[in-house]
């Protein structure tokens, strides 16, 4: 298709899209005026029913924990797919991999970069653990904690020590974390089935709102999801970086 024909098709489609958008946007409620029922209902009953002060985490890990189960297994399945594909590519080049481990070259990180990395690693790890444990109390939760925890070791790559990263986070630890997190989350749901007769219904004590061990199964779910997401993201990133830095074919 020539450029002119493509531009013509875009012109027609664009005009139609603009008309529909104008009609639709005209009928929206004013910015900031929420017209839904579910949100108001949750805001009214959530603190009394679940003793959590972060309603987003309450929705993710308790009131709609079943949806999060689906999301966790989407992540699990896609990371398994990435690992399968990239490791299949690596199989043929295994003898080359052993050689390049000695010849691994990196452009070289300056002292300032290495110092920054040294400062960032404990800060990111602490922030990740804080977000995971305080999921039900402050903004944060399992997924956010998991990605921040995964970014911590990645800073070692910034400092130019990718092989050190491979030593502290080898494949088997990341796979174990990924699977253990997903399994732990499912087991909490099954615990709801066994102890409260409904899959993913809260069966732990609710505690006092605002304290660390409160809101029932939310901290447990949050920690499980954080471990899974950390393992999943680190596995994906190290697979990609192995392909580009270590494997030569």
């Amino acid at each position: 298709m020539s450029t002119r024909a493509r531009l013509l098709v875009f012109g027609l489609g664009g005009v139609a899209l603009a008309a529909v958008l104008a009609l639709g946007l005209g009928g929206l409620p004013a910015f900031g005026h929420y017209h839904g029922v579910y949100g108001r209902r949750v805001a009214q009953i959530e603190l009394g029913a679940r003793h959590a002060t972060d309603y987003v985490t309450a929705l993710n890990f308790d009131l709609r924990a079943f949806d999060t189960l689906g999301e966790e297994f989407i992540l699990f399945g896609s990371v398994t797919g990435v690992a399968l594909l990239l490791r299949a590519l690596r199989e043929d080049a295994r003898h080359e991999l052993a050689r390049t481990l000695e010849e691994h070259s990196f452009a070289g990180a300056s002292e300032a970069l290495r110092l920054t990395a040294l400062l960032l690693i404990p800060m990111l790890t602490t922030l990740g653990i804080y977000l995971a444990l305080h999921g039900a109390l402050t903004p944060g939760g399992g997924f956010q904690a998991g990605v921040v925890l995964a970014a911590g070791p990645m800073v070692i790559l910034l400092a130019g020590r990718y092989l050190a990263l491979k030593q502290i986070a080898p494949d088997w630890i990341l796979e174990a974390a990924d699977s253990a997190g997903a399994a732990a989350y499912t087991l909490v749901g099954l615990g709801g089935l066994i102890f409260s007769a409904v899959f993913f219904r809260n069966f732990l004590g609710l505690g006092t709102p605002g304290q660390l061990l409160s809101a029932g199964m939310m901290p447990v779910n949050s920690a499980a999801v954080a471990i899974e997401v950390c393992g999943a993201f680190l596995l994906t990133w190290t697979e990609f970086l192995d392909q580009s830095l270590l494997v030569r074919r």
Partner: protein, 83 residues
Amino acid sequence: MTVLQTVMLVLVILSGTAVALISEPLHQVLVLAIYGFALTLLFFCLQAPDVALSELVVSGVGLPLIILATLRKLAERRDREDA
């Protein structure tokens, strides 16, 4: 909509358009990180800190990392085929 939210929205529009209009993939990755940061600020100004936290790490660290790794692999393979 407050002034701050409008400013953030305009920043998102500008950086998003910049990502689409840049042709060199390496430059696009850097502007993509800036776009992710602008989105994070927008989510924060719209009072959604949980989403902002996820967006910051995924779009600032995760996505550029795998794109840069892929670009390096492709460049290496191209250099080896040329040599």
